[in-house]
Amino acid sequence: MTRFRWFLWGVVAVAAGLFGLFAYQLTQPKDEFIESAMIGQSIPAFALRAAVPDRPGLSSEDLADGKAKLVNIFASWCIPCRAEAAQLEVLRESGAEIVGIAIRDRPEDVSAFLQVYGNPFTRIGADDISEVQLSLGSSGVPETFVVDGNGVITYQHIGDIRPEHVRTILYQLREAGA
């Protein structure tokens, strides 16, 4: 009996905790997007294995090879990533070199995704535990970073790339020396 009562007090405690959390979050200013603290800094060292058989993997050295690039963070299970596929294609056609990081994904799923939505990537690294994603200061999929030839992040785009963003991203890429 007393155990049952303790259990109920536990439920009350959990509920109170939730209320507290809700109340705290309600008072917080709501920024839809938090910029990465990594902008202006060099990409931390990493090396990711290839996510698909027909493209090489990705390491931090690949990003410091003298040419500015776009780093697109995506996943086959991410729905906005499908929506931005067409814009990535436009960027590629406009001369941007795009490398991808597939987040928490399986090779067969990535391959299927690229087959359906197109493959604009020259390299794709598999980030199984979001390790590299988090170290870049990215918190969700999709996100796209502009990285200059020395491996320094110069710009971050959060969310899917819509047609109206293409020009900005191309501009940022040229600024970075592409």
Binding site: M1, F4, V12, A15, Q28, A86
Partner: protein
């Protein structure tokens, strides 16, 4: 004048809710009989006034009275009539008024017809109902007044979100609201029973139709919402684990568990604590859902009416109602915890497994929905998606489905495995056959594979309780159970089949190009402009063939609405008995080609057929329970009449 009339009716209704609160709780304590007699009429008149206020709002929307702020913000004179009316509840203020109205009508209905419980418990229940109601009245009148005027009145309204201008969506939110409110009635009964220490089988029987009704509405609401997201958002998926979807799923999970738990309490006087707990949780989840959607605390694809002030209001109501109920439960724990004993291998045992599994899934969904919020408090942003929800909830859902197939075969209180051995073996063999069949013909993932196997087991197993029973004399409620369980199997089959076998193509096509997907061939004949009442669109025309023979035409559209300006994708669906072809058209590329998306989704429709079957099962069970109640009531009245006659006869004879 009309708007002021509505507002006055609303204020009066709130005052009557206050009267109902005082009368209910004072009457419960036997302090004032005169007051106690006022509780039921107060509930009735409150229902009428609230109904009047809501009709007033409908009238304002029908006339497009732009001097009312809500109408000006959400309507437009050129909108079709049905969407003008739907606009009345397609926004925050109107939908809260609908909520309060449905709640008041439910309260009025209990006050009018329900006479089975001890009168003190009824008074406590009405008092609790009024208490919950008053919170929402305060919310409406102080922070979301739907009748607020706009001076000067604008020349034209702002329109309604075009995504919401859809007949399915016009009725989707009210359906969910009926479900939420039904759970609020169950909550009031629980509070009433706790206050008067009357957690009895009779209490469960009285509460059960309300749970059933709520559950049917939630089932329909979720099914319709899923189909809406499927064809309106144009993403080809039917469940996204979006916070708003989870917000409607969680009360459904609680209501499903509550429904089964209340059945045990009604017929066996066991699972009292479960029933009370689930009654509280069911309504809590309704409120948490409303809070998550309305406060904008979680970023969601379709969070609307985002406003922290409203969020604080709902949060306060949530804390008062739920915290109060839980503390009350603790003080009454001793009267609730005892109940009839039963062995693990019994109908009750199976239903406990069901309760545990549903509660676990509820916990998993709640955790996944709130986890981003929790980490955000520590400035870490994460998103939780299908890779978490699918496998983790499957851990509990899959065993639960096995129990679903076997549980109804068990007897109450105590049973032996030997008695049900044959049907269990039969089900096992069916499962193995399906497993072998699927493994031999295709390679699919483990979850859809298990889904297909269990779907077969559940579909067959759901009919086994009919074995050896006279179908003509079978109670309607049992039919309800059989059909609902069968529906669960059908839904599972649709989900597993679509996940395992769907095929997808995204192409940029010129006129004349042929696109193949699965057994389908589509030819892009051309793209023509079309004009609608408040939109225009580019429509792709795609004659289709299925397995080489002609199979109609798909005409997906890319629509542009002009008030407010917004682009939507109207996909084209071609439904066959064995699945759906899903076609969407996107933008034109620079070289003049059109983006086409085609999905072949085998048996995807079974997801929603199953949902409807589940709801149908609920309706049958509800009708069965109600007809038994009515028959019993008629019998009781006849006996009372006869006694009266006899008494009169005796008196006459004596005189």
């Amino acid at each position: 004048m009309i708007a002021e009339f509505g507002l006055a009716a609303l204020w009066l209704a709130a005052a009557l809710a206050g009267l109902q609160l005082v009368a209910g709780f004072m009457g419960m304590r036997d302090e004032d009989e005169v007051l106690a007699r006022l509780a039921r009429p107060a509930a009735l008149v409150q229902a009428l006034l609230c109904g009047l206020a809501f009709l007033t709002l409908l009238w304002l929307f029908a006339r497009t009275d732009l001097s009312v702020a809500l109408v000006a913000n959400n309507s437009h004179s050129e909108k079709p009539m049905i969407f003008k009316l739907a606009g009345a509840w397609g926004n925050h203020e109107g939908s809260m008024l609908l909520w309060v109205t449905v709640m008041a009508v439910a309260g009025g209905l209990i006050a009018l017809v329900e006479r089975r419980l001890p009168e003190r418990t009824m008074l406590a229940t009405l008092g609790a109902q009024a208490f919950v109601g008053l919170g929402f009245y305060a919310f409406l009148l102080f922070s979301s007044n739907p009748f607020e005027r706009l001076n000067p009145a604008p020349g034209e309204g702002n329109g309604l979100n075009p995504l919401l201008q859809d007949i399915g969506l016009a009725f989707h939110p009210p359906t969910l609201y009926f479900g939420y409110v039904g759970l609020s009635v169950a909550f009031s009964f629980v509070v009433g029973a706790l206050l008067t220490r009357q957690v009895t089988p009779e209490f469960a029987r009285v509460m059960r139709p309300w749970i059933l009704g709520a559950w049917v509405f939630l089932t329909i609401g979720i099914t319709a919402g899923s189909y809406w997201a499927y064809y309106e958002l144009g993403w080809g998926g039917w469940w996204f684990w979006d916070p708003v979807e989870n917000a409607s799923l969680m009360p459904w999970l609680a209501a499903t568990a509550l429904l089964h738990s209340a059945s045990v309490l009604a017929s066996r006087d066991a699972l009292r604590a479960w029933t009370v707990m689930l009654g509280v949780i069911g309504f809590s989840m309704s409120m948490v859902g409303t809070f998550l959607v309305r406060s904008g605390i979680l970023t969601s694809v379709h969070a609307f009416a985002v406003d922290p002030e409203r969020g604080s209001f709902i949060l306060a109501l949530l804390a008062i109602n739920i915290g109060g109920a839980l503390v009350l439960f603790i003080t009454r724990a001793s009267t609730v915890a005892e109940g009839e004993r039963f062995s693990i291998l019994s109908r009750e045992g199976a239903l406990v497994v069901n309760n545990v599994a549903l509660s676990a899934v509820l916990g998993i969904v709640l955790l996944g929905t709130l986890y981003p919020l929790l980490t955000e408090a520590f400035d870490v942003r994460v998103s939780v998606g299908p890779p978490y929800f699918n496998p983790v909830s499957a851990i509990f859902v899959l065993p639960m489905l096995v129990v679903l197939a076997v549980g109804p075969l068990l007897r109450w209180r105590k049973d032996s495995f030997a008695r049900i051995r044959m049907p269990v073996f039969a089900l096992g063999i069916i499962g193995l056959l399906v497993l072998a069949g699927v493994l031999l013909t295709s390679t699919i993932d483990i979850l859809p594979l298990l889904g297909l196997v269990l779907a077969a087991v559940v579909m067959v197993g759901s009919f086994l309780p009919l074995r050896g029973r006279s179908l003509r004399r079978l109670p309607l409620a049992v039919w309800g159970m059989v059909i609902a369980h069968f529906g669960a199997g059908v839904t599972l089959f649709g989900m597993a089949s679509d996940t395992a076998f769907q095929q997808e193509r995204l192409v940029a096509a010129n006129a004349g190009d042929v696109v193949e997907v699965g057994p389908w061939q589509a030819v892009l004949e051309g793209v023509i402009p079309v004009a609608g009442p408040n939109w225009n669109a580019m429509e792709a025309q795609l004659p289709l063939t299925y397995d080489g023979s002609e199979a109609g035409e798909a005409r997906p559209q890319a629509r542009s609405f002009w008030s407010p300006p917004q682009e939507t994708s109207e996909i084209a669906l071609v439904t066959r008995w064995n699945g759906q072809l899903y076609v969407g058209v996107g933008n034109q590329t620079e070289d003049g080609r059109w983006q086409l998306r085609l999905w072949w989704k085998p048996f995807v429709t079974f997801i929603w057929y199953g949902g409807l079957l589940i709801a149908l099962g609920g309706v049958l069970a509800l009708l069965g329970r109600l007809s038994v109640d009515v028959r019993r009531r008629v019998a009781v009245r006849k006996i009372a009449d006869r006694k009266e006659d006899e008494a009169a006869f005796v008196q006459e004879a004596g005189a």
